[in-house]
């Protein structure tokens, strides 16, 4: 029985080696062909630049898009947690600085939870998360009258999945600009 097994295994190895030896050739040929096709033979056309130079493209300063892209609108919490780690604090410092530049902006801080908790406890936990974010922004000089808070508990997930990755995204404090943006 053992002998048979060994023989079979040996045969499998031989077969596998054989397969390896013969297969790679066509693959390399395909790559060579692709390299040839990359060479661009079309004639170069020179056109005069007529447009005036503009400022680098990107979100308009003071806009919602500016806040989203250049500042960050969410901080993320640990499982059942409501502490702000250094990454969260960095984002909130950028938010506070941005809010200082655009004093007409009012915000709503929403506390969100993942689906792995019960509804009412999560409503309370979301309220606690929103308050922690608000308190930190206030400690950085943002006028508390510019900040409202709300808890959505587990009612407003941003990731639809039911796995660790989705839950981590759904445990967040979301700073929503409600008014006073430039666009």
């Amino acid at each position: 029985m053992k002998t048979t097994l060994k023989f079979t295994a040996a045969a499998a190895v031989v077969l596998a080696v054989g397969a390896c030896a013969s297969q790679p050739e066509p693959v390399e040929q395909v790559e060579e062909q692709e390299v040839v096709e990359v060479v661009d033979n079309t004639p170069t056309v020179t056109e005069p630049v007529e447009a005036e130079p503009v400022a680098p493209t990107g979100p308009a300063a003071g806009s919602l898009e500016d806040f989203r892209v250049n500042v960050g609108e969410r901080v993320y919490f640990d499982l059942n947690g409501y502490r702000l780690d250094t990454d969260d604090q960095e984002i909130l410092k950028r938010q506070a600085a941005w809010l200082e530049s655009y004093p007409a902006v009012r915000i709503l801080v929403a506390g969100n939870c993942d689906e792995r908790g019960t509804r009412e406890y999560n409503l309370a936990l979301g309220e606690r998360r929103a308050s922690i974010v608000k308190d930190y922004l206030v400690s950085l000089g943002v006028n508390p009258s510019r900040i409202d808070t709300i808890s959505y508990g587990k009612e407003r997930p941003i990731a639809a999945g039911s796995d660790e990755q989705a839950w981590a995204l759904n445990r967040n404090g979301f700073t929503q600009l409600v008014s006073g943006t430039t666009s």
């Binding site: 059942n80 409501y82 689906e115 792995r116 908790g117 019960t118 509804r119 009412e120 406890y121 409503l123 309370a124 936990l125 309220e127 606690r128 308050s131 922690i132 308190d135 709300i150 808890s151 009612e155 407003r156 997930p157 941003i158 990731a159 639809a160 999945g161 039911s162 796995d163």
Partner: protein
Amino acid sequence: MTRILTMLMLAVLMPLSLAMPAAAQLQVRVDEGNFKPTPLAIPDFEVRGENAEMAQDIADVVRADLESTGLFDIQNPASFIQKDLSIDVQPRFPDWRIIQTEGLVVGAYEELPDGKIAVSFRLWDVYGGEVMRINGQPGRRLTTTPDNWRRIAHKIADSIYTRLTGEDPYFDTRIVYIAETGPKTERVKRLAIMDSDGANQQYLTPGTNTVLTPRFSPSAQEITYMSYEGGRPRVYLFNIETGRQELLGNFPGMTFAPRFSRDGQSVLMTQAQGGNSEIYLMNLRTRQSRRLTDHPAIDTSPSMSPDGRAIVFTSDRGGSPQLYIMNTDGSPRTCPSGGRDVACRITFNKGQYSTPVWSPRGDLVAFTKQLGGRFYIGVIGIDGKGERLLTEAYLDEGPDWSPNGRVIIYFRESRPGAGPQLWSVDLSGRNERRVPTQTDASDPAWSPLLE
């Protein structure tokens, strides 16, 4: 021939039945460990009128109600030997003993001259060979308008259930819940109501605002729930008959987790502000509120004892969500641990506990438990002893009691990504079953017995 056989069998059985003490009458024991459903025959009702279909429908609802308890084995009509049953004539017991039926329901449907309908029924103890009296009477007759036919059916099922088990009835009740539609990230949640068996589903709110956690008043006329109306999560009162909604209280911050006091005079709720949640009791007449808890931790999900003297609630004051009991008047209690405190923790096993609901009988608290990535519905004694887990799933949450304290309704997500559905389970942990709804459904609450 049949008659002779019958007489012979009667002669044989008579001394036996005479020898049996009255207590040996047919009795279904709901808590028996080694459980076997009791065989029960409910033949189609005798029809005295035009609408044979309605007579049939009523009998079907009675059968379905009793079958849903898991306590009865409703016999297949094909096995019935006696076809000439009449409500006023004693059935031929041997015909029913042969098919091993223990209880026999004989009913008659009538159409009355004033347009109403009436259903009469008798419950027979097949082995005892006698009629089972209900409230001292040898049968019952119920009259109503034809559009109310389902309620007559539920009341008949309630009578039979109560007579056979000794438990209070619960079929003639309603269930309020949250109907859910749409993708997970844009869920639409509407307040919905239906009969206890899932019939007559109705939507009470349009879904423009997210609504959560509805609960019945003891009169079954009003619901208290939380709505995001106007962008603020707050507790409302909803009148089922008028459809009118009314904000409860004028608290800063948010209010949520409402539940009526047992006398219906007050509503318990949670108010959260500045990262702290506390429990309040609001008198519905004076609109005055009193704060019951005073702790920087989360205190929420209050539920009152039947005597109104204590509440059970969720708190994470010990580091994780656990269940606590405190006196409604705030006076200290003697805790399960032996010490005296204003709030006594009653859950000490591994895991997180929340959504406590005090049982109508007062001795148990139903809860949601989280442990090792699974969710459970369980019950525990108010002294913190005798924890029993009844269900387990990816998500089982939000139990509520049938008004007789025998059955627990809750919602379940059977696997990751599955929408929530309503389920019920017997207090024994037996008879786990889906409660049908048209859409995904969560946050069920059971009404008291209807008037």
